[in-house]
Symmetry: C2
Subunit: 254 residues, 2 copies
Amino acid sequence: MEYTVQKLGKLAGISTRTLRYYDEIDLLKPARVSSSGYRIYGTKEVDRLQVILFYRELGMSLDEIKRIVRDPLFDRKQALIEHRMRLVDQRRQLDQLISNVENTIAFSEGRITMTDKDKFVGFKQQMVHENEQKYGEEIREKYGDEAIDQANQKVMDMTPEEHARVTQLADEIKAALAQAMQTGDPASDLAQKAAALHKQWLMFYWNEYSKEAHAGLAQMYVDDERFKAHYDQQQEGTAEFLRDAIHLFTGVKK
Amino acid sequence: MEYTVQKLGKLAGISTRTLRYYDEIDLLKPARVSSSGYRIYGTKEVDRLQVILFYRELGMSLDEIKRIVRDPLFDRKQALIEHRMRLVDQRRQLDQLISNVENTIAFSEGRITMTDKDKFVGFKQQMVHENEQKYGEEIREKYGDEAIDQANQKVMDMTPEEHARVTQLADEIKAALAQAMQTGDPASDLAQKAAALHKQWLMFYWNEYSKEAHAGLAQMYVDDERFKAHYDQQQEGTAEFLRDAIHLFTGVKK
DNA sequence: ATAATGCCTTCCGTAACGTCAAGGTCAATG
DNA sequence: CATTGACCTTGACGTTACGGAAGGCATTAT
Protein backbone atom coordinates (compact mmCIF):
# COMPACT_ATOMS: atom_id res chain seq x y z
CA MET A 1 0.00 0.00 0.00
CA GLU A 2 1.30 3.43 -0.93
CA TYR A 3 0.19 6.79 0.33
CA THR A 4 0.58 10.40 -0.70
CA VAL A 5 0.69 13.10 1.96
CA GLN A 6 -3.04 13.65 2.08
CA LYS A 7 -3.89 9.96 2.18
CA LEU A 8 -1.50 9.37 5.03
CA GLY A 9 -2.63 12.52 6.77
CA LYS A 10 -6.23 11.43 6.75
CA LEU A 11 -5.27 7.97 7.86
CA ALA A 12 -3.41 9.29 10.87
CA GLY A 13 -5.46 12.39 11.54
CA ILE A 14 -2.74 14.95 10.92
CA SER A 15 -2.24 17.70 8.34
CA THR A 16 -0.14 17.51 5.23
CA ARG A 17 1.88 20.40 6.58
CA THR A 18 2.81 18.27 9.57
CA LEU A 19 4.02 15.47 7.32
CA ARG A 20 6.15 17.87 5.31
CA TYR A 21 7.53 19.26 8.55
CA TYR A 22 8.40 15.78 9.81
CA ASP A 23 10.18 15.20 6.54
CA GLU A 24 12.05 18.48 6.92
CA ILE A 25 13.32 17.68 10.41
CA ASP A 26 14.18 14.10 9.41
CA LEU A 27 11.63 12.60 11.76
CA LEU A 28 9.68 10.77 9.07
CA LYS A 29 11.02 10.54 5.54
CA PRO A 30 8.86 9.20 2.70
CA ALA A 31 9.76 5.76 1.36
CA ARG A 32 10.48 7.35 -1.98
CA VAL A 33 9.85 10.46 -4.03
CA SER A 34 8.01 10.21 -7.34
CA SER A 35 9.42 11.60 -10.56
CA SER A 36 7.31 14.71 -10.12
CA GLY A 37 8.52 15.24 -6.58
CA TYR A 38 5.56 13.73 -4.71
CA ARG A 39 6.24 12.15 -1.33
CA ILE A 40 5.26 8.48 -1.33
CA TYR A 41 4.94 6.62 1.96
CA GLY A 42 4.72 2.86 2.47
CA THR A 43 3.38 0.66 5.24
CA LYS A 44 6.65 0.86 7.15
CA GLU A 45 6.26 4.63 7.33
CA VAL A 46 2.67 4.25 8.50
CA ASP A 47 3.88 2.14 11.41
CA ARG A 48 6.63 4.56 12.22
CA LEU A 49 4.19 7.45 12.14
CA GLN A 50 1.91 5.68 14.60
CA VAL A 51 4.81 5.24 16.97
CA ILE A 52 5.67 8.92 16.60
CA LEU A 53 2.09 9.96 17.29
CA PHE A 54 1.94 7.62 20.25
CA TYR A 55 4.81 9.39 21.97
CA ARG A 56 3.60 12.79 20.82
CA GLU A 57 0.32 12.15 22.62
CA LEU A 58 2.34 11.58 25.77
CA GLY A 59 3.54 15.17 25.47
CA MET A 60 7.09 14.45 24.33
CA SER A 61 9.04 16.88 22.18
CA LEU A 62 9.72 15.85 18.60
CA ASP A 63 13.42 15.97 19.37
CA GLU A 64 13.00 13.38 22.11
CA ILE A 65 10.77 11.29 19.87
CA LYS A 66 13.38 11.42 17.15
CA ARG A 67 15.92 9.89 19.49
CA ILE A 68 13.43 7.21 20.46
CA VAL A 69 12.44 6.10 16.99
CA ARG A 70 15.86 6.54 15.44
CA ASP A 71 17.26 3.39 16.91
CA PRO A 72 15.29 0.48 18.29
CA LEU A 73 17.87 -0.17 20.99
CA PHE A 74 17.15 3.17 22.61
CA ASP A 75 16.05 2.80 26.21
CA ARG A 76 12.43 3.83 25.80
CA LYS A 77 11.56 3.05 29.39
CA GLN A 78 14.26 5.34 30.71
CA ALA A 79 13.06 8.07 28.38
CA LEU A 80 9.53 7.62 29.65
CA ILE A 81 10.66 7.80 33.27
CA GLU A 82 12.59 10.99 32.63
CA HIS A 83 9.64 12.38 30.74
CA ARG A 84 7.37 11.61 33.66
CA MET A 85 9.73 13.46 35.96
CA ARG A 86 9.50 16.54 33.79
CA LEU A 87 5.73 16.32 33.70
CA VAL A 88 5.46 15.90 37.46
CA ASP A 89 7.73 18.90 37.88
CA GLN A 90 5.50 20.92 35.58
CA ARG A 91 2.51 19.83 37.58
CA ARG A 92 4.16 21.03 40.79
CA GLN A 93 4.83 24.44 39.28
CA LEU A 94 1.30 24.62 37.99
CA ASP A 95 -0.02 23.86 41.47
CA GLN A 96 2.08 26.67 42.84
CA LEU A 97 0.74 29.03 40.20
CA ILE A 98 -2.87 28.12 40.88
CA SER A 99 -2.35 28.52 44.60
CA ASN A 100 -0.90 31.98 44.04
CA VAL A 101 -3.69 33.01 41.72
CA GLU A 102 -6.26 31.84 44.23
CA ASN A 103 -4.56 33.77 46.98
CA THR A 104 -4.68 36.87 44.84
CA ILE A 105 -8.37 36.37 44.12
CA ALA A 106 -9.08 35.82 47.79
CA PHE A 107 -7.14 38.96 48.59
CA SER A 108 -9.06 41.01 46.04
CA GLU A 109 -12.26 39.81 47.64
CA GLY A 110 -11.00 40.90 51.02
CA ARG A 111 -11.34 37.35 52.27
CA ILE A 112 -7.82 37.47 53.62
CA THR A 113 -7.35 39.86 56.49
CA MET A 114 -3.61 39.83 56.03
CA THR A 115 -3.16 40.73 59.66
CA ASP A 116 -0.89 37.80 60.37
CA LYS A 117 1.13 38.29 57.28
CA ASP A 118 1.31 42.02 57.72
CA LYS A 119 2.38 41.58 61.28
CA PHE A 120 5.50 39.83 60.17
CA VAL A 121 5.97 42.13 57.24
CA GLY A 122 5.92 45.08 59.59
CA PHE A 123 8.32 43.30 61.82
CA LYS A 124 10.63 42.59 58.95
CA GLN A 125 10.54 46.20 57.90
CA GLN A 126 11.62 47.20 61.34
CA MET A 127 14.51 44.79 61.27
CA VAL A 128 15.52 45.86 57.81
CA HIS A 129 15.54 49.40 59.07
CA GLU A 130 17.66 48.48 62.06
CA ASN A 131 20.04 46.74 59.75
CA GLU A 132 20.25 49.79 57.60
CA GLN A 133 21.08 51.83 60.66
CA LYS A 134 23.81 49.39 61.48
CA TYR A 135 25.39 49.05 58.09
CA GLY A 136 24.08 52.13 56.40
CA GLU A 137 26.63 54.62 57.70
CA GLU A 138 28.51 54.75 54.47
CA ILE A 139 25.24 55.18 52.61
CA ARG A 140 24.28 57.92 55.00
CA GLU A 141 27.54 59.71 54.42
CA LYS A 142 27.16 59.28 50.72
CA TYR A 143 23.56 60.31 50.28
CA GLY A 144 22.60 62.03 53.49
CA ASP A 145 19.70 61.57 55.87
CA GLU A 146 17.23 62.78 53.34
CA ALA A 147 17.73 59.71 51.19
CA ILE A 148 17.23 57.43 54.17
CA ASP A 149 14.05 59.20 55.15
CA GLN A 150 12.88 58.95 51.60
CA ALA A 151 13.45 55.20 51.68
CA ASN A 152 11.44 54.89 54.83
CA GLN A 153 8.71 56.93 53.28
CA LYS A 154 8.79 54.53 50.35
CA VAL A 155 7.81 51.69 52.61
CA MET A 156 4.94 53.66 54.06
CA ASP A 157 3.72 54.75 50.65
CA MET A 158 3.65 51.27 49.18
CA THR A 159 0.65 50.79 46.92
CA PRO A 160 -1.53 47.68 47.31
CA GLU A 161 -0.05 46.29 44.13
CA GLU A 162 3.50 46.84 45.23
CA HIS A 163 2.51 45.22 48.46
CA ALA A 164 1.16 42.25 46.54
CA ARG A 165 4.39 42.04 44.59
CA VAL A 166 6.46 42.09 47.78
CA THR A 167 4.36 39.31 49.25
CA GLN A 168 4.69 37.38 46.03
CA LEU A 169 8.46 37.72 46.08
CA ALA A 170 8.54 36.55 49.70
CA ASP A 171 6.55 33.46 48.67
CA GLU A 172 8.90 32.77 45.81
CA ILE A 173 11.92 33.03 48.09
CA LYS A 174 10.30 30.56 50.43
CA ALA A 175 9.52 28.11 47.64
CA ALA A 176 13.00 28.39 46.11
CA LEU A 177 14.62 27.96 49.51
CA ALA A 178 12.58 24.88 50.33
CA GLN A 179 13.65 23.30 47.05
CA ALA A 180 17.26 24.40 47.36
CA MET A 181 17.49 22.96 50.85
CA GLN A 182 17.03 19.53 49.34
CA THR A 183 20.25 19.88 47.39
CA GLY A 184 21.98 21.02 50.56
CA ASP A 185 24.30 23.21 48.51
CA PRO A 186 24.16 27.00 49.08
CA ALA A 187 26.08 27.44 45.82
CA SER A 188 23.49 25.55 43.78
CA ASP A 189 21.53 27.36 41.10
CA LEU A 190 18.35 27.25 43.10
CA ALA A 191 19.97 28.61 46.24
CA GLN A 192 21.58 31.41 44.26
CA LYS A 193 18.23 32.15 42.66
CA ALA A 194 16.75 32.40 46.15
CA ALA A 195 19.47 34.87 47.09
CA ALA A 196 18.80 36.91 43.96
CA LEU A 197 15.10 36.95 44.76
CA HIS A 198 15.95 38.04 48.26
CA LYS A 199 17.79 40.97 46.79
CA GLN A 200 14.75 41.81 44.66
CA TRP A 201 12.66 41.73 47.75
CA LEU A 202 15.08 43.98 49.60
CA MET A 203 14.95 46.55 46.86
CA PHE A 204 11.45 47.38 47.99
CA TYR A 205 12.81 48.49 51.33
CA TRP A 206 16.18 49.91 50.42
CA ASN A 207 16.80 52.76 48.11
CA GLU A 208 20.43 51.86 47.66
CA TYR A 209 21.78 48.37 47.53
CA SER A 210 25.12 47.37 48.98
CA LYS A 211 26.56 43.90 49.12
CA GLU A 212 27.91 44.45 52.60
CA ALA A 213 24.53 45.45 53.99
CA HIS A 214 22.90 42.49 52.28
CA ALA A 215 25.46 40.10 53.73
CA GLY A 216 25.08 41.74 57.12
CA LEU A 217 21.34 41.27 57.03
CA ALA A 218 21.83 37.62 56.17
CA GLN A 219 24.02 37.15 59.21
CA MET A 220 21.37 38.80 61.32
CA TYR A 221 18.87 36.22 60.10
CA VAL A 222 20.88 33.67 62.01
CA ASP A 223 21.71 35.76 65.05
CA ASP A 224 18.25 37.06 65.69
CA GLU A 225 16.00 34.52 67.36
CA ARG A 226 12.80 35.84 65.84
CA PHE A 227 14.12 35.73 62.31
CA LYS A 228 15.66 32.36 62.76
CA ALA A 229 12.42 30.97 64.17
CA HIS A 230 10.52 32.30 61.17
CA TYR A 231 12.83 30.89 58.53
CA ASP A 232 13.33 27.58 60.30
CA GLN A 233 9.58 27.19 60.50
CA GLN A 234 9.39 24.74 57.62
CA GLN A 235 12.81 23.23 57.84
CA GLU A 236 15.55 23.33 60.45
CA GLY A 237 18.65 25.18 59.32
CA THR A 238 17.00 27.32 56.65
CA ALA A 239 18.26 30.56 58.17
CA GLU A 240 21.87 29.38 58.04
CA PHE A 241 21.37 28.06 54.56
CA LEU A 242 20.00 31.36 53.35
CA ARG A 243 22.86 33.22 55.01
CA ASP A 244 25.43 31.02 53.28
CA ALA A 245 23.68 31.41 49.96
CA ILE A 246 23.60 35.19 50.29
CA HIS A 247 27.22 35.34 51.38
CA LEU A 248 28.16 33.42 48.26
CA PHE A 249 25.87 35.58 46.16
CA THR A 250 27.33 38.84 47.41
CA GLY A 251 30.85 37.52 47.60
CA VAL A 252 31.10 38.97 51.09
CA LYS A 253 32.14 36.78 53.96
CA LYS A 254 32.00 37.78 57.54
CA MET B 1 14.80 58.91 40.52
CA GLU B 2 15.70 58.00 36.96
CA TYR B 3 16.85 54.71 35.57
CA THR B 4 18.50 53.45 32.41
CA VAL B 5 17.67 49.96 31.14
CA GLN B 6 20.38 48.22 33.10
CA LYS B 7 19.61 50.03 36.34
CA LEU B 8 15.95 49.18 36.10
CA GLY B 9 16.76 45.66 35.01
CA LYS B 10 18.88 45.02 38.06
CA LEU B 11 16.31 46.62 40.27
CA ALA B 12 13.58 44.33 39.00
CA GLY B 13 15.67 41.28 38.24
CA ILE B 14 15.07 41.17 34.49
CA SER B 15 17.27 41.57 31.44
CA THR B 16 17.70 44.68 29.36
CA ARG B 17 16.44 42.74 26.38
CA THR B 18 13.19 42.17 28.23
CA LEU B 19 12.80 45.88 28.85
CA ARG B 20 13.42 46.67 25.21
CA TYR B 21 10.92 44.01 24.27
CA TYR B 22 8.32 45.47 26.61
CA ASP B 23 8.94 48.82 24.98
CA GLU B 24 8.57 47.28 21.55
CA ILE B 25 5.20 45.69 22.33
CA ASP B 26 3.98 48.83 24.10
CA LEU B 27 3.74 47.12 27.45
CA LEU B 28 6.15 49.44 29.24
CA LYS B 29 7.37 52.60 27.55
CA PRO B 30 10.19 54.66 29.08
CA ALA B 31 9.21 57.98 30.62
CA ARG B 32 11.35 59.72 28.05
CA VAL B 33 14.18 59.15 25.61
CA SER B 34 17.44 61.05 26.02
CA SER B 35 18.94 63.07 23.20
CA SER B 36 21.23 60.16 22.37
CA GLY B 37 18.37 57.69 22.23
CA TYR B 38 18.72 56.16 25.71
CA ARG B 39 15.58 54.91 27.40
CA ILE B 40 14.97 56.72 30.68
CA TYR B 41 12.47 55.32 33.17
CA GLY B 42 10.98 57.11 36.19
CA THR B 43 9.40 55.93 39.42
CA LYS B 44 6.00 55.60 37.76
CA GLU B 45 7.48 53.11 35.33
CA VAL B 46 9.09 51.19 38.18
CA ASP B 47 5.69 50.77 39.80
CA ARG B 48 4.11 49.73 36.54
CA LEU B 49 6.87 47.22 35.95
CA GLN B 50 6.30 45.67 39.35
CA VAL B 51 2.63 45.26 38.55
CA ILE B 52 3.55 43.65 35.23
CA LEU B 53 5.96 41.25 36.91
CA PHE B 54 3.40 40.43 39.54
CA TYR B 55 0.93 39.18 36.95
CA ARG B 56 3.68 37.58 34.92
CA GLU B 57 4.63 35.48 37.93
CA LEU B 58 1.06 34.25 37.98
CA GLY B 59 1.66 32.80 34.54
CA MET B 60 -0.36 35.30 32.54
CA SER B 61 0.48 36.14 28.94
CA LEU B 62 1.91 39.58 28.25
CA ASP B 63 -1.08 40.26 26.07
CA GLU B 64 -3.43 39.67 28.98
CA ILE B 65 -1.22 41.73 31.26
CA LYS B 66 -1.28 44.56 28.76
CA ARG B 67 -5.05 44.67 28.95
CA ILE B 68 -4.89 44.65 32.73
CA VAL B 69 -2.39 47.45 33.19
CA ARG B 70 -3.62 49.55 30.28
CA ASP B 71 -6.60 50.87 32.11
CA PRO B 72 -7.14 50.85 35.88
CA LEU B 73 -10.85 50.21 35.47
CA PHE B 74 -10.21 46.81 33.96
CA ASP B 75 -11.84 44.04 35.96
CA ARG B 76 -8.71 42.43 37.34
CA LYS B 77 -10.60 39.99 39.48
CA GLN B 78 -12.53 38.64 36.51
CA ALA B 79 -9.27 38.29 34.59
CA LEU B 80 -7.78 36.36 37.49
CA ILE B 81 -10.76 34.04 37.70
CA GLU B 82 -10.59 33.32 33.98
CA HIS B 83 -6.87 32.80 34.28
CA ARG B 84 -7.39 30.33 37.09
CA MET B 85 -9.82 28.40 34.93
CA ARG B 86 -7.24 28.09 32.20
CA LEU B 87 -4.61 26.94 34.66
CA VAL B 88 -6.89 24.35 36.21
CA ASP B 89 -7.71 23.10 32.76
CA GLN B 90 -4.02 22.83 31.96
CA ARG B 91 -3.49 20.88 35.16
CA ARG B 92 -6.24 18.45 34.22
CA GLN B 93 -4.61 17.81 30.87
CA LEU B 94 -1.25 17.41 32.55
CA ASP B 95 -2.70 14.87 34.96
CA GLN B 96 -4.09 12.95 32.02
CA LEU B 97 -0.67 12.97 30.40
CA ILE B 98 1.07 11.78 33.53
CA SER B 99 -1.46 9.01 33.97
CA ASN B 100 -0.91 7.86 30.38
CA VAL B 101 2.86 7.96 30.74
CA GLU B 102 2.67 5.93 33.91
CA ASN B 103 0.45 3.39 32.24
CA THR B 104 2.97 3.06 29.46
CA ILE B 105 5.80 2.60 31.93
CA ALA B 106 3.82 0.01 33.83
CA PHE B 107 3.07 -1.77 30.58
CA SER B 108 6.72 -1.80 29.59
CA GLU B 109 7.54 -3.38 32.92
CA GLY B 110 4.94 -6.02 32.35
CA ARG B 111 3.15 -4.97 35.49
CA ILE B 112 -0.12 -4.87 33.60
CA THR B 113 -1.28 -8.27 32.53
CA MET B 114 -3.55 -6.77 29.91
CA THR B 115 -5.73 -9.84 30.09
CA ASP B 116 -8.80 -7.82 30.92
CA LYS B 117 -8.06 -5.21 28.35
CA ASP B 118 -7.12 -7.73 25.70
CA LYS B 119 -10.26 -9.63 26.38
CA PHE B 120 -12.28 -6.66 25.29
CA VAL B 121 -9.93 -5.90 22.45
CA GLY B 122 -10.42 -9.41 21.11
CA PHE B 123 -14.10 -8.98 21.54
CA LYS B 124 -14.04 -5.73 19.69
CA GLN B 125 -12.09 -7.26 16.83
CA GLN B 126 -14.71 -9.93 16.52
CA MET B 127 -17.48 -7.36 16.44
CA VAL B 128 -15.66 -5.21 13.96
CA HIS B 129 -15.30 -8.25 11.80
CA GLU B 130 -19.00 -9.01 12.06
CA ASN B 131 -19.72 -5.44 11.14
CA GLU B 132 -17.53 -5.74 8.12
CA GLN B 133 -19.39 -8.85 7.09
CA LYS B 134 -22.62 -6.97 7.41
CA TYR B 135 -21.71 -3.72 5.70
CA GLY B 136 -18.67 -4.79 3.76
CA GLU B 137 -20.42 -6.19 0.72
CA GLU B 138 -19.91 -3.09 -1.32
CA ILE B 139 -16.29 -2.98 -0.25
CA ARG B 140 -15.94 -6.64 -1.05
CA GLU B 141 -17.32 -6.05 -4.51
CA LYS B 142 -15.07 -3.09 -4.96
CA TYR B 143 -11.80 -4.54 -3.73
CA GLY B 144 -12.35 -8.27 -3.54
CA ASP B 145 -11.93 -10.82 -0.79
CA GLU B 146 -8.20 -10.45 -0.84
CA ALA B 147 -8.35 -6.92 0.54
CA ILE B 148 -10.67 -8.01 3.31
CA ASP B 149 -8.46 -10.92 4.28
CA GLN B 150 -5.51 -8.61 4.22
CA ALA B 151 -7.32 -6.28 6.63
CA ASN B 152 -8.00 -9.14 8.98
CA GLN B 153 -4.40 -10.17 8.75
CA LYS B 154 -3.45 -6.61 9.65
CA VAL B 155 -5.22 -6.95 12.96
CA MET B 156 -3.44 -10.19 13.73
CA ASP B 157 -0.06 -8.78 12.74
CA MET B 158 -0.32 -5.74 14.92
CA THR B 159 3.02 -4.87 16.53
CA PRO B 160 3.18 -4.11 20.26
CA GLU B 161 3.65 -0.46 19.47
CA GLU B 162 0.71 -0.31 17.16
CA HIS B 163 -1.17 -2.07 19.88
CA ALA B 164 -0.09 0.61 22.33
CA ARG B 165 -1.22 3.30 19.93
CA VAL B 166 -4.61 1.65 19.52
CA THR B 167 -5.03 1.44 23.27
CA GLN B 168 -3.97 5.06 23.55
CA LEU B 169 -6.52 6.13 20.98
CA ALA B 170 -9.21 4.18 22.83
CA ASP B 171 -8.27 6.01 26.03
CA GLU B 172 -8.43 9.33 24.26
CA ILE B 173 -11.85 8.55 22.87
CA LYS B 174 -13.02 7.68 26.36
CA ALA B 175 -11.64 10.90 27.84
CA ALA B 176 -13.05 13.06 25.05
CA LEU B 177 -16.43 11.36 25.32
CA ALA B 178 -16.59 11.83 29.09
CA GLN B 179 -15.91 15.52 28.66
CA ALA B 180 -18.23 15.93 25.70
CA MET B 181 -21.06 14.26 27.61
CA GLN B 182 -21.03 17.20 29.99
CA THR B 183 -21.97 19.56 27.18
CA GLY B 184 -24.73 17.17 26.16
CA ASP B 185 -24.31 18.20 22.54
CA PRO B 186 -23.19 15.55 20.00
CA ALA B 187 -22.40 18.39 17.58
CA SER B 188 -20.00 20.08 19.99
CA ASP B 189 -16.33 20.33 19.12
CA LEU B 190 -15.36 17.79 21.75
CA ALA B 191 -17.94 15.26 20.61
CA GLN B 192 -16.85 15.66 17.01
CA LYS B 193 -13.25 15.24 18.08
CA ALA B 194 -14.26 12.01 19.79
CA ALA B 195 -15.89 10.85 16.56
CA ALA B 196 -12.75 11.76 14.60
CA LEU B 197 -10.62 9.84 17.09
CA HIS B 198 -12.97 6.92 16.76
CA LYS B 199 -12.32 6.96 13.04
CA GLN B 200 -8.57 6.98 13.73
CA TRP B 201 -9.05 4.02 15.96
CA LEU B 202 -11.06 2.18 13.32
CA MET B 203 -8.36 2.69 10.76
CA PHE B 204 -6.30 0.14 12.63
CA TYR B 205 -8.90 -2.48 11.92
CA TRP B 206 -10.20 -1.46 8.53
CA ASN B 207 -8.17 -1.15 5.41
CA GLU B 208 -10.76 0.99 3.67
CA TYR B 209 -12.90 3.56 5.37
CA SER B 210 -16.50 4.23 4.42
CA LYS B 211 -18.82 6.64 6.14
CA GLU B 212 -21.72 4.24 5.84
CA ALA B 213 -19.88 1.43 7.61
CA HIS B 214 -18.72 3.82 10.31
CA ALA B 215 -22.28 5.04 10.88
CA GLY B 216 -23.51 1.46 10.86
CA LEU B 217 -20.99 0.46 13.50
CA ALA B 218 -22.10 3.37 15.63
CA GLN B 219 -25.68 2.20 15.49
CA MET B 220 -24.54 -1.25 16.51
CA TYR B 221 -22.95 0.24 19.60
CA VAL B 222 -26.45 1.04 20.76
CA ASP B 223 -28.18 -2.11 19.55
CA ASP B 224 -25.67 -4.57 20.91
CA GLU B 225 -26.00 -5.13 24.63
CA ARG B 226 -22.35 -5.92 25.20
CA PHE B 227 -21.12 -2.79 23.47
CA LYS B 228 -23.69 -0.62 25.13
CA ALA B 229 -22.78 -1.99 28.55
CA HIS B 230 -19.12 -1.23 27.92
CA TYR B 231 -19.61 2.33 26.79
CA ASP B 232 -22.25 3.15 29.40
CA GLN B 233 -19.87 1.89 32.08
CA GLN B 234 -18.85 5.36 33.18
CA GLN B 235 -21.94 7.28 32.25
CA GLU B 236 -25.41 6.27 31.20
CA GLY B 237 -26.25 7.12 27.60
CA THR B 238 -22.68 7.27 26.32
CA ALA B 239 -23.34 4.73 23.56
CA GLU B 240 -26.24 6.78 22.19
CA PHE B 241 -24.22 9.93 22.50
CA LEU B 242 -21.33 8.43 20.56
CA ARG B 243 -23.70 7.15 17.90
CA ASP B 244 -25.23 10.60 17.45
CA ALA B 245 -21.81 12.21 17.30
CA ILE B 246 -20.60 9.75 14.67
CA HIS B 247 -23.77 10.13 12.62
CA LEU B 248 -23.21 13.87 12.58
CA PHE B 249 -19.52 13.36 11.85
CA THR B 250 -20.14 11.08 8.89
CA GLY B 251 -23.21 12.95 7.72
CA VAL B 252 -24.99 9.63 7.48
CA LYS B 253 -28.26 9.14 9.26
CA LYS B 254 -30.05 5.87 9.62
C1' DA C 1 -9.93 20.37 -23.46
C1' DT C 2 -10.66 22.25 -19.35
C1' DA C 3 -11.63 22.57 -14.62
C1' DA C 4 -10.83 20.88 -10.17
C1' DT C 5 -7.94 18.88 -7.09
C1' DG C 6 -3.46 17.71 -5.32
C1' DC C 7 1.24 18.32 -4.90
C1' DC C 8 5.51 21.09 -4.52
C1' DT C 9 8.65 24.89 -2.39
C1' DT C 10 9.15 29.19 -0.05
C1' DC C 11 8.11 32.46 3.30
C1' DC C 12 5.78 34.78 7.15
C1' DG C 13 3.75 34.38 11.81
C1' DT C 14 3.31 32.52 16.53
C1' DA C 15 5.46 33.86 22.60
C1' DA C 16 8.76 35.82 25.00
C1' DC C 17 12.58 36.63 24.95
C1' DG C 18 18.37 35.01 24.49
C1' DT C 19 22.16 35.90 21.92
C1' DC C 20 25.22 37.88 18.89
C1' DA C 21 26.86 41.82 15.71
C1' DA C 22 27.91 46.42 14.35
C1' DG C 23 28.17 50.84 15.83
C1' DG C 24 27.27 55.27 18.78
C1' DT C 25 27.72 57.44 23.84
C1' DC C 26 29.46 58.36 28.38
C1' DA C 27 32.57 58.51 32.45
C1' DA C 28 36.94 57.72 34.14
C1' DT C 29 41.76 57.00 33.71
C1' DG C 30 46.74 57.39 32.01
C1' DC D 1 43.31 64.82 25.71
C1' DA D 2 42.98 60.47 23.92
C1' DT D 3 41.76 56.12 24.98
C1' DT D 4 39.69 52.49 27.32
C1' DG D 5 35.85 50.07 29.12
C1' DA D 6 31.22 50.10 30.36
C1' DC D 7 26.86 51.12 28.58
C1' DC D 8 23.50 52.25 25.08
C1' DT D 9 21.18 51.66 20.41
C1' DT D 10 18.88 48.97 16.37
C1' DG D 11 18.63 44.83 13.70
C1' DA D 12 18.46 40.17 12.89
C1' DC D 13 18.38 35.23 13.79
C1' DG D 14 17.09 31.15 16.81
C1' DT D 15 13.86 28.77 19.74
C1' DT D 16 8.74 24.86 19.13
C1' DA D 17 5.67 22.69 16.10
C1' DC D 18 3.43 23.66 13.01
C1' DG D 19 -0.86 27.00 10.32
C1' DG D 20 -1.67 29.54 6.42
C1' DA D 21 -0.91 31.76 2.09
C1' DA D 22 1.27 32.56 -2.48
C1' DG D 23 2.73 30.93 -6.86
C1' DG D 24 3.49 27.29 -9.84
C1' DC D 25 3.53 22.20 -11.80
C1' DA D 26 1.03 17.45 -11.97
C1' DT D 27 -2.75 14.49 -11.96
C1' DT D 28 -7.42 13.37 -12.35
C1' DA D 29 -12.28 13.98 -13.51
C1' DT D 30 -15.68 15.66 -16.45
